[in-house]
Symmetry: C2
Subunit: 217 residues, 2 copies
């Protein structure tokens, strides 16, 4: 049986997994809001970001309380410190999903996404969901091999990001500057979302092995 | 006289102040590289980001070592945990300065910055420098009043950011899509740089008062 202290550490992991689940839902709904110009969906993403922030605030508070009371050492200490870091990344992922939803809201009832880039944005959304789903599984299972797989998905995201620029910079681009700006920002939000998901998974690698995979930015 | 343990904590503060100094220099030189289309300057910002990353890696290592060995409590515990967080923000600020420099390098020998937005970018660069300088002073002195002043500079940054969009979206914009994309990304880098500087200062508020100023994103 686990003692109360280790139950608290387990609860921390559960809260982090819950954050991955909420930020996955947020980016999924933000992508739909964007592609379908769905205002209600966009509003729901924007308002529900507060839930993610609230869970993070709870995680922070419980970590400080736990550190002060239990003075964790070795792997437990690494656990609480990486939990703080993972929480910071997940909270930011919630913000980024909200930013995507805000672009959808800004352009409603029009769509911010011209036809030429719809499929690319859809793919970016799917990869983002995929990454955060895997990150959540990695947090729950501490599976280092799965954690290291996230790099490949991130490469796919970067490739799609470059494709976006190619389309908006092509001589056939007929939509002018405003949609190009929207798409530049949206592309950046998805790409950053992916980076943070990779960091969450890599923090688990650090937690398990004590070494961090190489930093990319 | 300070004991060895508190000297280590002081050294941590000094390293963080050093990070603010390096990231200030980085954004300053990146702004110059951008406005003067100075390739050598851009290259120096890009290559010297590794210094910031190296200091952060040292800070991280010494914090883990210190926590394992000394098991800090109360305000000392808050100090090392906020130091980790401040280091993360400062490291990101180095990345963002590098991103600005990379746009300058990409467009060299042309300038990425058309005349209509030069003064706005210059001001954004100055506010970014101002913010990181104040953040460094706040880290060194733990002055809460100064820390809370950073919000006003950040508002000024957001105002300039909106002005940028106004220019690139005006009907007089004659430069087409590519410079608009560059400026969208550059504007975002400065704005994020400012956000991270504010977070560093607000972490000091948390360290001193135990309460965090309201989150903005």
């Amino acid at each position: 049986m686990r003692d109360a202290y280790h139950e608290e550490l387990d609860a921390l992991t559960e809260r982090l997994v819950e954050m991955t689940s909420l930020t996955r839902s947020a980016i999924s709904r933000a992508t739909t809001a964007l592609l379908d110009a769905d205002l209600q969906m966009a509003e729901s993403v924007i308002s529900r970001d507060a839930e993610v922030n609230a869970i993070f605030a709870e995680i922070e508070a419980s970590i400080f309380e736990l550190m002060a009371r239990q003075q964790p050492v070795a792997v437990d200490l690494r656990m609480v410190i990486t939990a703080l870091r993972m929480g910071t990344d997940l909270e930011r992922m919630g913000d980024l999903a909200k930013h995507v939803a805000k672009v959808a809201r800004l352009r409603h009832p029009e769509s911010a996404i011209p036809n030429e880039v719809r499929s690319t944005i859809l793919e970016m959304g799917q990869i983002a969901e995929n990454l955060v789903t895997k990150a959540g599984a990695v947090v729950a299972t501490r599976d280092v091999d799965t954690a290291l797989e996230l790099g490949a998905d991130d490469d796919a995201m970067n490739k799609l990001h470059r494709r976006l620029f190619k389309v908006i910079l092509s001589k056939d681009w007929a939509h002018g500057v405003e949609p190009a700006i929207d798409i530049t920002l949206i592309g950046r939000y998805y790409e950053r979302y992916a980076d943070h998901a990779v960091r969450v998974a890599h923090d688990v690698v650090y937690l398990v092995t004590g070494a961090r995979p190489d930093k990319k930015d």
